[in-house]
Structure formats: C-alpha cells, structure tokens
C-alpha cells in the first residue's frame, strides 16, 4: 500500500477575520488543523506616522502618537512628551507628574481590560468581553471628564497637560477604584478560573524567557515568561519610584510558565497593581500647581538625539528623536511593543492548532495601529 500523500494547505487568515485584532493577515501553513508555519503580513493599517512626524511641529505630533496605539493613547502621549521634555530639560510641576501617572495607569487598566476581554472573545467567551468593556467605559468617562475626548486625548502636552482636571475628578476616580476590585473578582469567576478557558489557554504557546528576550518581547508578555523587567521599576521614569507596587510575573499556575494563560493572568494582576498606583497617586496628589506653567513657548529641542522608553500597556514604547534644533524633528522613530511582540508568533505558534494560534495571538495583545504605525 502506498503512503497517503498529503499536502500542506496555505490558509489565509485575515486581513478580514474576526480574531486578528484589526487588519492583520496571517499566512498559515496548515496540515489539517495543525499549523506548521505562521507568517504575519502587516501594513494594512500603515498611516506613515514617522513620516508625518518629520513634517510636523513637536506639539502637533502629540495627537498622532495617540493614534498609533489607540487603545493606550495616554501612554503613548506620556512617553512622547517625556522624551521631548528630557531633550529640552524641562522640570515639571509635581501636580503634572502625578496627574500623568494617574492617567497613564488608568489607561493601562483600560487597555488591559480590552486585552482580557478580547482574549476571552478569541476563545469563544462573549460575555466577559462585554463586562470588560463596561468597566472600560467608566475609565473613558474619567478621561472624557478631564480631556473632553474618549479615545484619542491629546491631553498630555509637552511640558504639562492641556488643562487641569475638573473638580470632582479625584472623587470620581476613587469611586471607580472602589468598585473595580469587585469587578475583577467577577472576571476571575467567569473567565480566569473557568475550566474550559484554562484548557484553551494553559500550556498553549509557551514562550520561554530565552525566546522572549531573543525576539524583543516586552511588557506583560515578557513578564509572563518570568522575566522581571518592568521599565517603571528597572528604570523609573516620571515619579514611578515613589509608588509601592508589585510587578506580577508569570508563575505557571495552571500550566507552564509563559503560556497563554500566564500572559492573560499577568494582565489581570497588573490591573490591580495599576489601581494600587492610582490610589497612592491620588492620595499624594498636590492640590496646588499650574499644569501649564512649564509648557515651553517654543518647542525647539537642542541639537541631538534621544531614545526614551516607557512602559506602555503592551510593553516598551520607545521614541527615538533626532533634532537639529528646529521646531520639527529630523527623524522620529517609534519602537512599538506590539510589533516586536507579534514577531514571536511563528516561534511560539508553530505546531499548534488553528484555534490555538488564535488564542496565542489574543494573548499577545497586539494593536495593529501600533504595528503598522
């Protein structure tokens, strides 16, 4: 009897697909359900952010940074503002620093809520997704209250903030935080501990620390592999050295260290840590202080270059800016965490089933706006 000849089939997942988190295209080489090779094809959302930046004044770039990682616009703006401020050696008022940290951490919670919810959606649980978005709306309400916008804020300006927060903001934030812990317990009840969910996520797409480091994976995905690198801790920027928070690491509670479940659970834990930071920042928030006092009249960083990195919800967000002393940067390069995180998919997704590739992709929490820039 001759051997049964079977060919590998190339399956084109995306750019229109429910679970590619945007317009990502994955070329899967499949043998039945088993995926033997994954090739991400990107660029469907390319908006030439870096070229734009070369033709815009520094202040005008800020709204575009938010559009890269549209789920974490505050974080992107924060990183960019800090990079330019460092070039210009601007000293910020205390109140600005605290408010920025509050917003960045609120944004981290909001972004992780989307990550957690969509991961649930990827493995088939629809309801937790809606619960997560319900809480995210509350955070967006806070942002809207402060900046007037719900998704793309342009709120953190170079040298300060666009406005001070309105009265009542602090109380509302406390209110949100008080209710939030209960909600997280609910997610854990419906999704985190769910046996089907554990079966779908645990031991799937294990990323060893070596692989993670070799591919430049950062953020929660790296920490899920047990590598203790959080730029807020290792290289404290802004005023993160004043807060007491833990860096959650993947422990392999349900399977191996660095599996999809760990990547998911690190995000769940990080939401709690962020809430902790926000609480401390709100407690210490100086009442006095003009948030616009340090905004430079003309933003012309001195000749030179800088690479500044900060911990975005998705990982290390770096801005490399070359200035020739003019009001327009010569070059602005964005090191987007989601891009590096996506690159590892072939390494950790090989040999798994199509369903698992979806789960692994969901656990990496990519944002296509940031990958294509």
């Amino acid at each position: 009897m001759g051997r049964l000849h079977a060919e590998e089939m190339v399956l084109n997942m995306g750019p229109q697909h429910p679970s590619t988190h945007g317009v990502l295209r994955l070329k899967l080489r499949t043998d039945g359900e088993i995926v033997s090779h994954i090739e991400p094809v990107i660029g469907y959302l390319h908006r030439s952010f870096e070229k734009h930046a070369e033709n815009l004044e520094y202040q005008m770039i800020t709204p575009f940074t938010g559009r890269c990682d549209y789920l974490a616009a505050m974080g992107s703006e924060h990183g960019y503002a800090m990079a330019v401020e460092k070039m210009m050696a601007i000293e910020l008022p205390e109140r600005v620093e605290y408010l920025r940290v509050i917003f960045a951490e609120l944004q981290r919670i909001a972004s992780h809520l989307v990550a957690v919810g969509t991961f649930g959606l990827d493995v088939g649980a629809i309801t937790p997704f809606i619960y997560c978005f319900r809480e995210r709306e509350l955070i967006l309400d806070l942002f809207e209250m402060a900046s007037g916008a719900r998704l793309l804020y342009n709120y953190i300006w170079i040298g300060g903030l666009a406005h001070d927060v309105p009265p009542g903001f602090v109380e509302k934030t406390y209110e949100f935080l008080d209710a939030f812990d209960e909600r997280v317990a609910e997610y854990n009840q419906i999704l985190t501990g769910n046996k089907i969910f554990i079966e779908r996520a645990a031991d799937i797409g294990v990323m060893t620390p070596e692989v993670a480091i070799n591919y430049g994976v950062t953020g929660p995905s790296l920490r899920a592999s047990g590598v203790n690198i959080d730029i807020r801790r290792t290289e404290p920027y802004s005023i993160y050295d004043r807060f007491d928070f833990d860096v959650p690491l993947g422990q392999g509670l349900q399977g191996t260290i660095g599996d999809s479940w760990d990547r998911y659970y690190v995000r769940v834990l990080e939401m709690g840590e962020s809430a902790k930071i926000i609480r401390q920042a709100l407690d210490q928030l100086p009442v006095e202080g003009d948030v616009k006092s340090a905004i430079p009249r003309r933003i012309r960083p001195p000749k030179g270059e800088i690479y500044f990195r900060s911990e975005n919800p998705r990982g290390e967000l770096g801005y490399y800016i070359v200035s020739n002393g003019k009001n327009v940067p010569v070059r602005l390069k964005m090191r987007s965490p989601a891009f590096s995180n996506l690159s590892v998919i072939n390494e950790i997704g090989q040999g798994w089933m199509i369903s698992d590739v979806i789960a692994i992709l969901g656990s990496l929490d990519i944002v296509l706006g940031e990958i294509d820039r």
């Binding site: 089939m9 429910p18 649930g120 493995v123 629809i126 619960y131 089907i196 089933m353 369903s355």
Partner: protein, 415 residues
C-alpha cells in the same frame, strides 16, 4: 393525529364525499404544514428570546426598536434575509450548494413528526419513535458536509469536517444514554415513554421526597444520564461550548461562511429547530413530556407554596449576601401561588397534562442551552473529542449498567 384530522374532515357533510384516502392525504399535508409553521415560528421566537437572554446576561437591553421591546425585530430580520440577493460563489459546486441547506432543514423538520406535543398532538405514533428521531436528526451532518464542501472555501471545509467529526462522535454517547431509558421502559415509542412517567413517587425510589415519577428522579444514574444527554445534545446541535463547526472567532462562520440570504436563513432555522428538538427529547425522555409535575389541584397548591417558600428564602439569602433585592422570581411565584389557591380552576388546569407543560419543559431546557452559550468559552477540536470519548462515553456506559443494576435492586425487573 392524522387519522383524527381525516375523520374530522370527513365529518363535515360537504367534505364527506371526497373519500377516505383523499381526506387522509389532505390531513397529512395539513399536519406537515403545521409542523413546518411551528418550526419557522419557533425559530423566530427563539431568536428573539436568545437575543434578549444574551442581552440581559451581558448587561445590555437587546433589540428594543422594532415593535414594543423589539418583539418584531426577528420578523424584520427574517424579511430582510428573504429579500437579500441570492449569491452562489462562482467556483462553488452549485448543486450541492443549493441542496445542502435544504437537506439540513428537511432532516431537522422531519424529526418533529414523531414528537408528541401532547397525548393527542402527535403526527405519527411510531413504535420506534426514539430510534427514528435519533437516526433522522443525524442526517443533518450530511447537509453540513455538503454545504461546507460545496462552498469551495477553506474555512467552510474546516467547519464541515469539524462538524462531521463532532456529530458522529457525540451520536454514540447520546444513543447509549437514551438506551438507558429505553431499558427502563422497554419500548422505543415516545408516547409510551411519557406515559410510563405518570404519577408521583419517591426520589430515587427510596428517599421519601414526593416528586413526579419522571425518569430524571428514577435513579441517580438516570439523573446523571439526563445531564450527560444534555451535554451530548449540545454538542450535536453545535452550540457553545461545542460550537466549533461555526466557531466565529476562528473559522469566521464555519460551513456557513459563503451563504447569505435565504440559504443562510435556512441554516438558522434548522439550528433552532434542532435546539428545540433536543429540548423536546430531554423533556420527553427525562422530564415526563406533557405530564404535569403536579398530581392534582391540591398538589398544585402545595407545590407552588413550596416553590414560593424557596423563592422567599432565596431572596433573603441574596439580600443578605449582596445587598441586592431581586423581586422578579419572588413576585412571579407569589402571584402564581395566590392564584392557585384562589382559583381552583387554575390549579386544576395546571395539574392537567397537555402541550403547556411540554412547552414549559422544553423552554427551560432551551434556556439552559442559552445560558451555556452565553457563559462558556469554546472547546478546542481535540478537547471536544476528549470530552466525547473519554468522559461522556464511559459515563454513559456506566449509567447504562448502573440503571440495570438499580432496576434489579428495586425489583423492577427480576431474573
């Protein structure tokens, strides 16, 4: 029912001249139309209910615009689907593409012929009713494979192959579970199975809690068997957590990817027809079919009083635990109990068997299925097989043996 209808037609003076065979054929046609109408209306109602149930579980409101509380939303959707352009992909296998949805629909509608809605509402009283239902309903897989293959789409093919593997695997535990019941009754006739469950008895034969004589309370084994059957049936009708053939986040829409308009509506129709069928089967086989849970009107009054007491305790418990006051279950049970005590006619009606109880039981099973669907993630293909072959199948075999031993212990059968 067909013979009854034919006799009824012939009883009219004007129509009596048409002859027995013609009347029989006419009533056959009427019954078939009635069943199809039931399936269609049922799908429309169930889609609405499902959307509302999912919305309430997801802190939403669901359809609210078309009609009061969106009641006409699914009607509008159905009309829209009928008007849509009929698209057949150029490289699709046209014949199979057209036949596929109809095969699925016919297979799921035809099974209703053997379902007894009440003691008289039964299209065909077959002595192999259960066997007929189980065997015909598995023709669905043929239609799914046809549709998936004919679409000439990789996603559809994956969906179809998964579906075939899944339905065939789950046929076996489901069949064995049903055999356990057949072993108790000794008949495949669905009407006989229901009639066997009349009256009240003790829970599991010995525990002195008066409960209806349903097979779910017959023995611990059949109690488990009911849930085993429910799980297996959920898989057979491709609903979450076993909805891998059309898993939206992976296979786009599985075997339905290329379908639109009327053909897609047919899939939807048959999906809900299958869900209803499963619910009917569970209520027939395990929950006493059209039998009332109450023996007589006094039983009704007492039963509802007990339910109200439980509801009060539950409300107080929830109140103490979460601080929230949920008045709906309590209010509903109170209203029914009070009316049962005040109006004996109502209590007698509640105690009498009929289609009301059948629909109530099937409805609660369908609600269970919806509850599953809107809570759970989806299993993976191999995990699905694991559940089928390594968990459900051994369990159903143990149940079958256990039921036999139980019957020997209780003296229902002697050697």
């Amino acid at each position: 029912m067909i013979q009854l209808l034919a006799n009824w037609i012939l009883s009219f003076d004007i129509l009596s001249g048409m002859g027995n065979s013609v009347a029989w054929g006419l009533s056959l046609f009427i019954v078939a139309a009635l069943i199809f109408a039931f399936v269609a209306v049922n799908a429309i109602v169930l889609v609405y209910i499902e959307r509302k149930v999912s919305a309430f579980m997801q802190v939403r409101l669901g359809p609210m615009r078309v009609g009061k509380f969106g009641t006409l939303q699914t009607v509008a959707d159905a009309l829209k689907l009928l008007q849509k352009e009929d698209i057949i992909p150029r490289s699709a296998d046209k014949v199979l593409f057209i036949i596929g949805p109809w095969v699925i629909l016919v297979a799921s509608v035809v099974t209703f012929a053997a379902i007894p809605f009440s003691d008289t509402w039964l299209a065909a009283n077959m002595n192999i009713g259960l066997f007929y239902v189980v065997s015909i309903s598995s023709i669905v897989v043929l239609g799914i494979v046809m549709a998936g293959w004919a679409s000439n789409n990789k996603w559809s093919l994956y969906g179809a192959m998964r579906s075939a593997a899944q339905i065939i695997s789950y046929e076996i535990p489901v069949g064995i579970t049903l055999i356990a019941v057949v072993a108790v009754v000794g008949s495949l006739n669905l009407q006989t199975i229901i009639q066997e469950q009349a009256g009240t008895g003790n829970l599991f034969h010995w525990i002195p809690i008066p409960l209806p004589n349903w097979f779910i309370f017959h023995s611990p084994f059949l109690f488990i068997a009911a849930f085993v059957y429910l799980i297996g049936a959920t898989a057979e009708i491709n609903r979450t957590p076993f909805d891998i053939p059309e898993s939206e986040s992976e296979l786009v829409a599985g075997f339905m990817t290329e379908f639109s308009g009327l053909r897609w509506a047919l899939f939807f129709l048959s999906e809900y027809a299958n869900a209803t069928l499963v619910a009917f089967l569970v209520s027939i086989v395990f929950l006493g079919g059209w039998q009332s849970p109450f023996a007589d009107y006094q039983g009704t009054q007492i039963g509802f009083s007990i339910i109200t007491l439980v509801a009060i305790m539950w409300t107080l418990f929830v109140r103490a635990k979460t601080g929230r006051l949920s008045v709906y279950p309590l209010g509903l049970s109170l209203v029914i109990t009070i009316s049962a005590w005040l109006f004996p006619g109502f209590a007698i009606w509640m105690a009498s068997p009929g289609i009301f109880w059948m629909l109530m039981k099937a409805g609660s099973i369908i609600f269970m299925l919806m509850w599953f669907r809107w809570t759970f993630p989806r299993l993976r293909v191999d995990q699905l097989m694991y559940v089928s072959w390594k968990v459900i199948l051994p369990l159903s075999l143990i149940n079958l043996m256990g039921v036999a031993i139980w019957m020997w212990l209780t003296g229902e059968i002697q050697f």
